[in-house]
């Protein structure tokens, strides 16, 4: 029974990831891509956590936390860079 739940969860997350990838490819602007990439990374983090729940093994949880923080730092630096570039123009 839990197996079905995990399968549905993974399916929904994969669909969401696909949609955010479409936005990443369509773009609309650098900032749109940054936002889309951040969402995608959040989805990866979520899926990894679901995987840990499925395997009942959470020994990599520190890695996931570090990954989530790195994603934030990356997105923030990218956003600041875009802003700086715009203000120089």
């Amino acid at each position: 029974m839990m197996g079905v739940v995990f399968a549905i969860t993974f399916g929904l997350l994969c669909l969401a990831g696909l949609l955010s990838l479409v936005r990443l490819l369509l773009g609309g602007g650098t900032l749109d891509r940054i936002v889309a990439l951040d969402v995608f990374i959040t989805l990866i983090v979520a899926a990894t956590c679901v995987g840990m729940g499925l395997n009942e093994d959470g020994s990599n949880v520190a890695l996931v936390a570090a990954f989530a923080l790195l994603a934030f730092i990356g997105s923030v630096s990218a956003a600041r860079l875009v802003e700086k570039k715009e203000s120089h123009r």
Partner: protein
Amino acid sequence: MSWLDLFSAVCLIAGAMSCLFGAIGLLTFPDVAARLQAATKPQTLGLVLILLGSAVHLELRYASGLILVGLFQALTAPVLAQLVGRAAYRAGSVRHETLDTDHLARRIERERGGSL
């Protein structure tokens, strides 16, 4: 299926649905600012719910790390929204025809007038 499993199942599915709606918003909203709304709120709620649902299946010592992941997301999402929103506004990526009131534009107008 125990109560704990039921709780976990509800959290996981609701969280994944929330993430999915966030991604749909990311795709359908007209400009960066509106897409940011979709990127921050449903994603944060979705991730927190999924963390809850997964934490039930883990030992306590690993579940505490998941609290940290959720905390980071809840703290960082608004910060990112503000940074990207500001950059988008300055870069002119916010569509002005979707705005009815814009106090910031008046302010920037005034600042430009003052600095010249």
